[in-house]
């Protein structure tokens, strides 16, 4: 029976191949193998780990599906609603997690698969972001955390007559206002290069330092119009945009990559996970030109993800095991070494090799010290359940200012009214 299915499948694949030249015919589940698909976005550093897992578990085949950030999450929402199509294990970023917490019954409670016994592995706040129902329902196990820093181009800073050493650069901007002033200084000497890729990068970084953003921690109500921190973040980032200090490309898009390659941005807001994306986007040619300085303002956390197991999967037991394994300390350590994605577990963060890690691409910046040593003291930002619905309105507002279509107050007013309309 099984053989027959395989034969039919092979025939079908062959036919499909002849028709399109594109069908993926490898890794079927016909020969007694369990195939587990893992849907991610950005760079999770999983390729080598998959091979390692498959070696240790001969019956299991792992397969990565990768999409762009927004598309990944909105597609997942659609798949959950439709009841099929989701991968066996899905990565969910912390900004999107609250939205999915609302449909927790679509996900496996990982506590049923022993995840709760592992809770001590994670930073408390990271663990708590992934659970609901007072901790009894474990929706997701944490992969990485983001923290915050600022990456900058040493060569461009030098040409603009600014300091280039990371300690001195950090001293340029104790606050975001200082950062904006540095942008002005930079623009006087190098007007053809934008100081940062997009105003939304600064806006989101500031929000992530705020503790509370669009929604109130106490009752999840919409407070973006009254929260002075949202106002301050918008005013400062829109100010950068209005002065033309930002480029207005969509961060992490194709245009962003082109901008990086052309040396179009002098700085970039850098959560730990962004380092790999900048290195990949800017390419070998810019190796050693980038460095990492501290972020203006307080510490903050931007991003970091969770692995979750949709209930619709056929192999939830095996999927849960994969999720637990991929987020275990040994793996987090390897991922940090490979990509720089910051571990979310104290035992790994305190590890001597992690703390001593330098990033060659970023001029040997001591990323272990910069990110790992501060991660344990981070306070996460509160995300409302509708955060992922409202955030784009503000990103679009900043883009309108960057495109010269609107002045900052007008753009903010429109973002607020659109948000309210969306929340109705």
């Amino acid at each position: 029976m099984r053989n027959r299915t395989v034969r039919v499948a092979v025939a079908a694949c062959a036919a499909a191949l002849m028709g399109t030249g594109l069908a993926a015919c490898g890794g079927g589940s016909g020969s007694g193998q369990t195939r587990i698909t893992i849907a991610t976005f950005a760079d999770f550093g999983y390729e080598d780990l998959f091979a390692e897992y498959e070696k240790a578990h001969p019956g299991v085949k792992l397969e990565n599906r990768k999409l762009e950030f927004d598309a990944h999450h909105s597609q997942l929402a659609t798949q959950l609603a439709g009841g099929k199509g989701a991968a066996d294990v899905v990565a969910v970023e912390e900004g999107w997690l609250p939205k999915f917490r609302g449909s927790k019954d679509k996900f496996v409670n990982l506590a049923d698969f022993g995840a709760k016994d592992l809770s001590g592995q994670w930073l408390d706040w990271k663990w708590n972001q992934g659970v609901t129902d007072n901790g009894s329902y474990v929706l997701g196990v944490g992969t990485d955390v983001g923290s915050l820093a600022v990456c900058y181009r040493k060569d461009l800073f030098q040409q603009a007559g600014l300091p280039t050493e990371r300690a001195e650069v950090s001293k340029l901007w104790p606050t975001w206002e200082d950062y904006a002033r540095t942008a002005d200084r930079f623009a006087e000497r190098k007007p053809e290069v934008k100081f940062v890729s997009a105003a939304e990068q600064v806006f989101l970084a500031m929000l992530n330092q705020a503790g509370e953003g669009f929604f109130a921690k106490a009752d999840d109500s919409f407070i973006a119009d009254t929260n002075p921190k949202v106002r301050a973040a918008f005013d400062l980032s829109a100010g950068l945009a209005a002065k033309g200090r930002t480029s207005g490309v969509k961060p992490f898009s194709q245009q962003w990559t082109v901008g990086l390659k052309q040396g179009g941005f002098a700085t970039e807001v850098c959560p730990a996970w962004a380092l790999a994306q900048i290195a990949e986007g800017a390419g070998e040619g810019a190796k050693g030109k980038w460095d990492v300085a501290s972020v203006p303002g307080n510490g903050g956390n931007w991003g970091g993800s969770f692995l979750m197991v949709p209930k619709q999967g056929k192999n939830i037991q095996a999927a849960a095991e994969v999720a637990k394994w991929l987020t275990a300390p040994e793996q987090q350590k390897k991922i940090f070494d490979k990509t720089g994605n910051l571990p979310s577990q104290p035992s790994v963060l305190r590890d001597a090799t992690v703390q001593g890690k330098a990033n060659e691409y970023f001029s040997g910046a001591p990323v272990g010290q910069i990110f790992a040593s501060s991660a344990e003291s981070l306070k996460p930002n509160y995300r409302g359940t509708q955060d992922s619905l409202v955030r784009p309105k503000f990103q679009e507002a900043l883009l309108r200012v960057e495109q010269g279509k609107q002045q900052p107050p007008e753009a903010l007013a429109q973002a607020l009214s659109q948000s309210r309309a969306e929340l109705k």
């Binding site: 598309a71 245009q255 901008g259």
Partner: protein, 301 residues
């Protein structure tokens, strides 16, 4: 008995033969159409299902929704900017190809080439070409001393960029249809016109165009239907892809993109179904108007 059977045969077989089409159409065409109408009369959430009958509330909300009118405007504008020049260019191309060119097949195959390239590839390449900072169009504008244009930012500029993709893909296809029609125009008519001293230009408008009017009618109707449902090109022109709303201020969000946003991002299936039906009505109206206008002129000729 035998005779009865054969009569049955001649009577029923034709219906049996066309039945598969109607069955398939019923399952994949008619049923979704009616089901969508049913859904549009409900508060229907994609994730949680039917939340109760609301009558025409979705339609009422839609008619007072400025974003719907914005999307409708964009759709019609994109349709006009992409279709009118496209069909005129196709007509011109076909006329050129209809004359004795060397390496005929090469040219004819060549103009169809853009049509067989994947639409996603076309959209990605054109988005690069119309890029503000490093795009080829702006580079050329720079060369001749014209200010760079932020194609994404403006309403008209973004419509031009998106229309360029549509024209690129479909002009050659329509030209081939016109060419096929032109080749069946009797050559004697041209010879007679030439003898009467008519110019080529005059012959084209007085002989060629009237003779191929049925084909023009066909392309107009088909382009209308496709143009009003435009989705992939504008969606991929947005750096956020299908997660975007067609620019920073919805400057190139079409009706189908708005439908997608409401249905698959906000999960309001009832509202999305109402948009789908409004789109259906708009397409119907446009197709009918086109049909009548073009048919009347065919008759007149």
């Amino acid at each position: 008995m035998k005779r009865a059977l054969s009569r049955w045969d001649t009577r029923i077989t034709p219906y049996l033969l066309i039945a598969p089409f109607f069955l398939v159409f019923g399952v994949f065409g008619l049923f979704p159409l009616l089901y969508t109408a049913w859904v549009s009369l409900h508060d229907w959430q994609l994730a949680d299902g039917n939340q109760g009958f609301v009558g025409l509330d979705n339609y009422a909300a839609l008619l007072s929704d400025p974003l719907f009118w914005n999307a409708l405007f964009n759709t019609v504008s994109l349709f006009l900017i992409s279709t009118v020049p496209q069909l005129l260019a196709a007509l011109g191309l076909a006329a050129l190809l209809d004359r004795g060119l060397k390496a005929k097949t090469l040219w004819r195959a060549g103009i169809l080439l853009p049509n067989v390239v994947s639409v996603v590839a076309v959209a990605l390449v054109f988005t690069q070409i119309f890029d503000r900072d490093f795009g080829m169009v702006n580079w050329l504008l720079d060369l001749v001393g014209i200010d760079r244009i932020d194609w994404q930012a403006g309403v008209f500029s973004s419509h031009v960029a998106v229309s360029a993709m549509v024209m690129w893909r479909w002009t050659g296809y329509n030209a081939l249809l016109y060419l096929a029609a032109m080749q069946s125009v009797p050559r004697e008519q041209y010879e007679a016109a030439e003898l009467d001293g008519a110019s080529r230009w005059r012959a084209f408008w007085s002989i060629t165009v009237p003779s191929i009017r049925p084909t023009i009618l066909y392309t107009v109707v088909v382009s209308t239907i496709a143009g009003l449902q435009l989705f992939v090109e504008p969606a991929l022109f947005d750096p956020k892809g299908t997660a975007g709303v067609g620019g920073s201020d919805r400057q190139y969000q079409t009706l189908t993109m708005y439908l997608y946003e409401k249905g698959f991002r906000v999960f309001d299936a009832g509202y999305a179904s109402a948009i789908a039906w409004m789109l259906f009505v708009v397409v119907l109206v446009f197709a009918l108007v086109n049909f009548m206008v073009t048919r009347r002129s065919v008759r007149e000729s």
